[in-house]
C-alpha cells in the first residue's frame, strides 16, 4: 500500500465513522428537528393541552369561517385526523382552503387548538396561471399532493 492509498483509506475510515455518528445524532434528534407535528401525531405523541407546539397540515376545504371579530376558525387535517383551530390575527396571503399551513399555539382542553401565529406553506410546483387553470378545467389538478406532511 502506497502512502497515498494509506492516506485515502484513513480519510475514508474517518469519514465513515463521522457519517455514522452524525446519522445517529440526527436520527435521535429527529423529533426536535422536525418543525411541526400533524393532527395524527398529537395523539401518538401524547401532547397535552397548554403545551406550546407547532401544528401543521392542510386547511380543510370548506372549514374556514371568518366571524365578525378578528378571529378566524378553520380546521387542519392530515390523512388521519382533523383539529379545529381558532386564530386572531393577520393571515398570510397564501392562506386558503387546501393550502399547507404551520401554526404555533396551544391545545385546549376540549381538543381544539388556539394559534398565536399562522404561516403558509407552498408546494414545489411553479406554473403560469393559465396552465393551472387549464389543468383544473381538465380535472388533472391535485394540489394537495406536495403539501402532505410526512408521517413522523
Amino acid at each position: 500500500m502506497t502512502r497515498k492509498q494509506r492516506r485515502l483509506t484513513l480519510i475514508g475510515v474517518a469519514g465513515t465513522v463521522l457519517l455514522a455518528a452524525v446519522g445517529l445524532v440526527l436520527f435521535a434528534l429527529s423529533g426536535k428537528i422536525t418543525l411541526f407535528v400533524t393532527p395524527a401525531d398529537i395523539a401518538a405523541k401524547n401532547i397535552g393541552p397548554g403545551q406550546q407546539i407547532r401544528l401543521g397540515g392542510l386547511v380543510k376545504v370548506g372549514s374556514v369561517v371568518k366571524s365578525d371579530g378578528a378571529a378566524v376558525r378553520f380546521e387542519i387535517e392530515d390523512t388521519v385526523k382533523t383539529i379545529k383551530v381558532t386564530y386572531a390575527g393577520v393571515l398570510p396571503d397564501l392562506f386558503r382552503e387546501g393550502q399547507g399551513v404551520v401554526t404555533e399555539g396551544k391545545l385546549t382542553a376540549d381538543g381544539g387548538f388556539v394559534a398565536d401565529t399562522v404561516l403558509a406553506k407552498h408546494d414545489e410546483t411553479y406554473m403560469p396561471k393559465e396552465v393551472a387553470d387549464s389543468l383544473k378545467a381538465q380535472g388533472h389538478w391535485n394540489p394537495a399532493d406536495a403539501n402532505k406532511p410526512k408521517p413522523q
Binding site: 497515498k4 492516506r7 485515502l8 480519510i11 469519514g15 463521522l18 457519517l19 452524525v22 440526527l26 429527529s30 428537528i33 422536525t34 418543525l35 411541526f36 407535528v37 400533524t38 401543521g56 393571515l91 398570510p92 396571503d93 397564501l94 404551520v102 401565529t117 399562522v118 404561516l119 403558509a120 406553506k121 407552498h122 408546494d123 414545489e124 410546483t125 411553479y126 406554473m127 403560469p128 396561471k129 393559465e130 396552465v131 393551472a132 387553470d133 406536495a146 406532511p149 410526512k150 413522523q152
Partner: protein, 268 residues
C-alpha cells in the same frame, strides 16, 4: 495541455489570462439574458404571482453555495491525499466566494419568506442547515487567516472542509427527512422538475450564468492567491538576504535566475 501541467502555477496563470475574457463574456451574457427572461418573459406563478421572480436569484445562489463546498471538498482530498500544489490554492480562493453565494441565498430566501410564508425566518431544518453552511464558510476563512504557514493552514482547512461536507447532503435532503416550512426540491428530484418550462428555462439560464460567474471569480481569486504567495516568498527571501548581508557585510545581489527559481519553488 494535460491536466498535470496545470500543477505548474506559471502555466496555470497563463491559462487563466487566456480564458478570462471568454468567461467574463459568458457570465455577463448568460446573466443578462437570464435577468431579462426573469423579469420580462417568465410568467407570474399561479399562486405566488410576481414574488416567484426571487427564485431566479435565490435558487442559483443556493446551488452554487453547495457546489462550492463540494468543489472545496474535492480540493481538500487533493491536498491531503495527492498533495497537489494547486488544490489548497483552489480551496482557499473559493471560501469567500462560497460565503457570498450562501449569504445571497439566505437574504433572498428571507425576502421571499416574508410575503409567502409570513415570516422572515424559521428554525426549520433547511433554513438552519444553510445557516450552518454559512457559519462554516466563515469558520474556514477564520482558520485560513489564523495559521500563517500556508502548508499547515491548508491541511487544517482541508480536514475542516471534509468534516463540513457532511452538511451538504443534510441540506439537500432536509426537506425530505423532516417536516419543514421550506418546500421540497423542484428541479433535482425523482420524477423530474415540477416547474413549468416557461419558468424553468430562465432559472436554468441564470444558473448557468451564476456558474460562469463563480468560475470567473474563482480563477481570479486563485491567480491572486498564487501571486500573494510569491510575494510572501520574495519578502522572506529579502529579509533573509538583508540579515545575511548584515552578518557577512557582503552586498552581492543574488542572480536573477536564482531568484526566479526560488520564487517558483516558493509558489509551489
Amino acid at each position: 495541455m494535460a491536466l498535470i501541467d496545470l500543477a505548474n502555477p506559471t502555466r496555470f496563470i497563463a491559462l487563466v489570462e487566456r480564458v478570462l475574457p471568454v468567461l467574463v463574456a459568458l457570465s455577463i451574457g448568460f446573466i443578462a439574458l437570464g435577468l431579462y427572461q426573469a423579469f420580462f418573459v417568465a410568467p407570474e406563478d399561479y399562486q405566488q404571482g410576481d414574488t416567484v421572480r426571487i427564485m431566479f436569484i435565490h435558487v442559483p445562489a443556493a446551488w452554487l453555495s453547495l457546489f462550492c463546498w463540494s468543489m472545496m471538498s474535492v480540493s481538500a482530498l487533493g491536498t491531503l491525499v495527492w498533495r497537489h500544489p494547486l488544490s489548497d490554492v483552489a480551496a482557499k480562493a473559493a471560501v469567500p466566494i462560497g460565503a457570498a453565494f450562501t449569504f445571497v441565498c439566505l437574504v433572498t430566501g428571507s425576502l421571499w419568506g416574508k410575503p409567502m410564508w409570513g415570516t422572515w425566518w424559521m428554525w426549520d431544518a433547511r433554513l438552519t442547515s444553510v445557516l450552518v453552511l454559512f457559519i462554516m464558510y466563515l469558520g474556514l476563512a477564520a482558520l485560513w487567516s489564523t495559521i500563517e504557514d500556508p502548508i499547515r493552514a491548508g491541511k487544517a482547512a482541508a480536514i475542516l472542509t471534509l468534516v463540513g461536507f457532511v452538511n451538504i447532503p443534510i441540506i439537500k435532503f432536509s426537506v425530505d427527512w423532516w417536516n419543514t416550512l421550506h418546500q421540497p426540491a423542484s428541479v433535482f428530484r425523482a420524477g423530474g422538475p415540477t416547474i413549468h418550462s416557461s419558468i424553468l428555462w430562465p432559472l436554468l439560464i441564470m444558473a448557468i450564468g451564476f456558474t460562469f460567474l463563480f468560475t470567473t471569480l474563482h480563477l481570479l481569486a486563485m491567480r491572486n492567491e498564487i501571486l500573494r504567495r510569491r510575494l510572501r516568498t520574495l519578502r522572506m527571501m529579502e529579509a533573509a538576504r538583508s540579515d545575511s548581508s548584515v552578518a557577512t557585510t557582503t552586498t552581492a545581489a543574488p542572480s536573477t535566475a536564482k531568484l526566479g527559481a526560488a520564487i517558483e519553488a516558493g509558489a509551489e
